[in-house]
């Protein structure tokens, strides 16, 4: 299974390098893009682990939503000029590096010295069972909606709370008086707003691209 080894080596090296880039580059945008690279390669490792569903969800949620949200915020706040300032916490870096190295040493030591998993520890989902169920998505669904129903529901409530909280936080209280005018009235009249636009003006001429 050399192909797996090749793939894993590639994925792990790129993920680590991109992770390093994430915390070292100057611009937050570059940092976020490096994180996307990490996300993709971790997703690749999920595929290697035989969990395609998790890989897809990882890309959809992390790359498609969270990091995009970061980039969106960066563009909204227009952080460009900060790139010229000092980026590292000067006083703390001399404490941070040893602590991080120490943490890595400890965790890595645990990771490497971890004994092999004995058969009696194994759960109810060996690869062939997952295949019989139709794939990792179906396998996950069977536990998600039975054993883990409560955590699942709690997570959904958490998302709802976060969505509402984000809306409340990000709303500009000063603009509230400006938010109601004509738009809202038009919305009430009908969501298909295109018909009440003046015609002619906006209809495009062909081949505007070419």
């Amino acid at each position: 299974m050399t192909d797996q080894i090749v793939a894993f080596t590639y994925l792990s090296i790129v993920a680590s390098v991109a992770g390093l880039a994430t915390i070292l580059v100057r611009s937050p945008v570059h940092s976020a893009l490096s994180l996307v690279v990490v996300v993709f390669h971790v997703a690749g490792m999920f595929v290697l682990l035989g969990n395609g569903f998790l890989a897809a969800v990882q890309v959809i949620v992390y790359a498609g939503a969270i990091v995009v949200l970061f980039l969106f915020t960066m563009m909204l706040l227009d952080l460009r000029r900060h790139e010229t300032e000092r980026t590292v916490h000067r006083r703390q870096i001399w404490l941070a590096i040893p602590i991080a190295v120490l943490l890595f040493a400890e965790v890595a030591w645990i990771a490497i010295s971890k004994p092999e998993i004995s058969e009696n520890l194994k759960g109810a989902f060996p690869p062939q069972t997952i295949d019989e169920l139709g794939g990792s998505a179906q396998a996950l669904a069977t536990v998600m909606f039975t054993d883990y129903l409560l955590p699942f529901e709690v997570a959904s409530v958490l998302l709802l709370a976060a969505a509402i909280g984000a809306m409340v936080l990000a709303r500009n209280p000063d603009e509230e008086s400006l938010a109601s005018p004509p738009d809202m009235i038009e919305d009430a009249a009908g969501t298909d707003g295109s018909s009440d636009q003046p015609e002619g003006e906006l209809s495009e001429t062909p081949a505007t691209h070419g």
């Binding site: 703390q92 404490l95 120490l102 943490l103 400890e106």
Partner: protein, 633 residues
């Protein structure tokens, strides 16, 4: 047969959803039709269920499993026995008529759509309450009807009195529901299940004292919901809601939930005689007490409200006597004629431009013949005149109390209750005809209002006629011959319902019937003598005995007692506690606070406000704990 009952609650729910979602913006007046159609659908499904017949051997029907946790599970399920069917027929039938009536009554209201949103929701909740086969869903829908009641009493929330009445109804009900909830918790604690079947099956294994406690707690819930003394104070105030609401919720259906609940829980109540005694005693006392208050009220809807309280008391009397079929029978007939009376009064109020004081009425019968005749029939039925509906049920009801007291084990208490019930019937006849005479007879006392009065539109009159037909014929049709009428035989199919003691002694029944008819006739004659022969003004009657009249007019000062007694004492205790709290407890707290402040002003130096300092400490903590794991594992 048991595959369509879920349609019954579905229709009103769909009507509620449609009206709630689209009513205010798009449907507007169409909501009335949609609401009525939804209830009609439920009624039709109920009739189908009735005709299809219910199997008393397998009354449970599980819709789906709602909560499943270990060995404990709660199903959304239906209990489909004759008791349910009778209740459903009453609920959906009367609801449908009230809905139709409301289309006319609420026609000019701005919040028409809102009205027809809450009303189907109420019907849905009531149907589910009746259908529930376990205590939890019973409780959920018990509360939901309470919420609907709150919303509808406060329907005209712009009026302070309506908003206050809604809050009062909610708070008073809360006291009852609290007892109810504790009762259910006790049941779950002791039985480990909330299904009726499981609980009833093992009632005999538990200690009688425990069952008495549970029964009393459940009964507190019934007292609150069915407005029995001393929790009756919310119902008269609830008349602030629109009249159709009063007719449907506060006369015909929701307030009877307590009666239904006690009837449903009969295995629990029957374990101890004390519980039955309390039920009957509260019922008898409330019946007499509320009827006497009804004598002196001048607001037409309040008279009817106290009448409802009184009649519910009679039902509880029957329940206490163990005559469940009779209680349900009276519940059904009462639903018809009391809804009729309320809707009739609504018609009058509608005609008199929302004036509810009977002192402004008089001589209306010429102008509102339909309303008058139907109202008269309702009044006769309420008074228990042969052969209207009220006669059959009330007669049996009193007979059941009599037999319980005299014929069976000679329990003197029920003899007293029987006499109280008889007195209440007498007073019922008096106040009913006082109301009819003051409203429809004599000279108009407010000429201007009188000149503007008119008969109500067809959509309001038609339900009156249908209800009047029910009030006339229902009792005889289903309740004749006494003890062996259709409804009795039907309800006897419910497992565990038995003929009450004395069943079959037809001569005794007839003699009691004659007594009660005579009482009713005496009451009517008395009312006629006082109010019609003399100058028919309430003041003149009041002057006969100002003290008694004042006492009755002020409703025995129950509201005041509650206000100054309970609320005032609570406030007084609160004041004393506050003083203790402010001087002593706060002193200690302030001392502690000062100490903490002094120490923290030193230690707060650690809080730099630099997030990363904190994060660094977290990371260091992680390093230490992981390190400990690595070293010591």
């Amino acid at each position: 047969m048991t595959d369509f009952p879920w349609l019954i609650p579905l229709f009103p729910l769909v009507a509620f959803a449609i009206n709630g979602a689209f009513g205010p913006r798009y449907l507007k007046k169409a909501t009335g039709v949609i609401g009525s159609a939804g209830i009609l659908g439920a009624f039709a499904a109920t009739v189908a269920l009735w005709i299809g017949g219910v199997h008393s051997d397998t009354p449970d029907f599980t819709l789906y499993r709602w909560v499943s946790s270990g060995s404990f599970s709660i199903d959304i399920g239906f209990v489909l026995d004759p008791l349910t069917v009778v209740m459903l027929l009453v609920v959906t039938g009367v609801s449908f008529l009230v809905h139709v009536y409301s289309i006319g009554y609420m026609a000019h209201d701005e919040s028409f759509a809102r009205f027809f949103t809450w009303l189907p929701l109420f019907v849905f909740a009531m149907i589910m309450l009746v259908l529930s086969n376990n205590f939890l869903s019973l409780y959920v829908f018990w509360e939901l009807v309470g919420v609907c009641s709150y919303l509808l009493i406060g329907f005209w929330h712009q009026r302070k009195s309506a908003a206050d009445a809604a809050v009062k109804a909610f708070l008073v009900n809360r006291i009852g529901d609290f007892g109810f909830a504790i009762g259910i918790i006790l049941i779950f604690w002791n039985f480990g299940s909330l299904n009726y079947g499981d609980v009833f099956a093992s009632v005999s294994d538990k200690s009688p004292d425990l069952m008495l406690l549970i029964a009393l707690l459940l009964f507190i819930g019934a007292v609150g919901k069915s407005a029995q003394f001393p929790l009756h104070i919310w119902l008269p105030d609830a008349m602030e809601g629109p009249t159709p609401v009063s007719a449907l919720i506060h006369a015909a259906t929701m307030v009877t939930a307590g009666v239904y609940m006690v009837a449903r829980m009969r295995p629990i109540f029957e374990v101890s005689n004390e519980a039955l005694l309390v039920v009957g005693g509260i019922g008898a006392f409330t019946a007499l007490f509320a009827a006497s208050i009804g004598l002196a009220q001048t607001d037409i809807k309040r008279v009817l409200a106290y009448s409802t309280v009184s009649q519910l008391g009679l039902m509880f009397l029957a329940l206490g006597a163990g005559a469940y079929t009779v209680a349900i029978f009276h519940l059904a007939t009462h639903a018809f004629f009391k809804a009729l009376l309320f809707l009739g009064s609504g018609s009058v109020i509608h005609a008199m431009q929302n004036q509810q004081e009977m002192s402004e009425y008089g001589g209306l019968w010429r102008r509102m013949k339909w309303t008058y005749f139907t109202f008269l029939l309702g009044g006769l039925a309420l008074s228990g005149v042969f052969p209207l509906a009220g006669f059959w049920s009330k007669d049996e009801l009193l007979a059941s109390a009599f037999f319980k007291g005299v014929a069976s084990d000679g329990s003197w208490a029920f003899t007293v209750f029987w006499i109280m019930g008889l007195l209440a019937s007498l007073l019922t006849a008096v106040y009913t005809f006082r109301m009819i005479i003051l409203t429809f007879h004599g000279k108009p006392r407010n000429a201007e209002l009188h000149s503007h009065s008119h008969e109500s539109p067809i959509s309001m009159v038609a339900p009156l006629v249908v209800l009047a037909a029910g009030a006339v014929a229902l009792g005889g049709a289903v309740g004749f011959p006494p003890e062996h009428g259709f409804i009795h035989d039907y309800l006897y199919k419910v497992p565990g319902v038995f003929h009450f003691a004395g069943a079959g002694e037809i001569t005794a029944v007839i003699s009691l019937a004659i007594i009660s008819t005579a009482v009713a006739a005496f009451g009517i004659v008395a009312a006629y003598a006082v109010y019609s022969r003399r100058q028919p003004s309430p003041e003149a009657v009041a002057a006969l005995s100002p003290r008694v009249y004042g006492l009755l007019y002020r409703k025995y000062y129950v509201d005041e007692i509650v206000n100054y007694g309970i609320v005032g004492v609570t406030k007084g205790i609160g004041l004393i506690l506050w003083a203790i709290d402010a001087k002593i407890v706060d002193g200690i707290v302030n001392l502690i606070g000062w100490t903490v402040r002094a120490t923290s002003s030193l230690t707060r130096r650690v809080q730099t406000g630099q997030v990363q300092n904190y994060l660094f400490l977290i990371a260091a903590g992680a390093v230490v704990s992981v390190g400990a794991f690595v070293i010591f594992r």
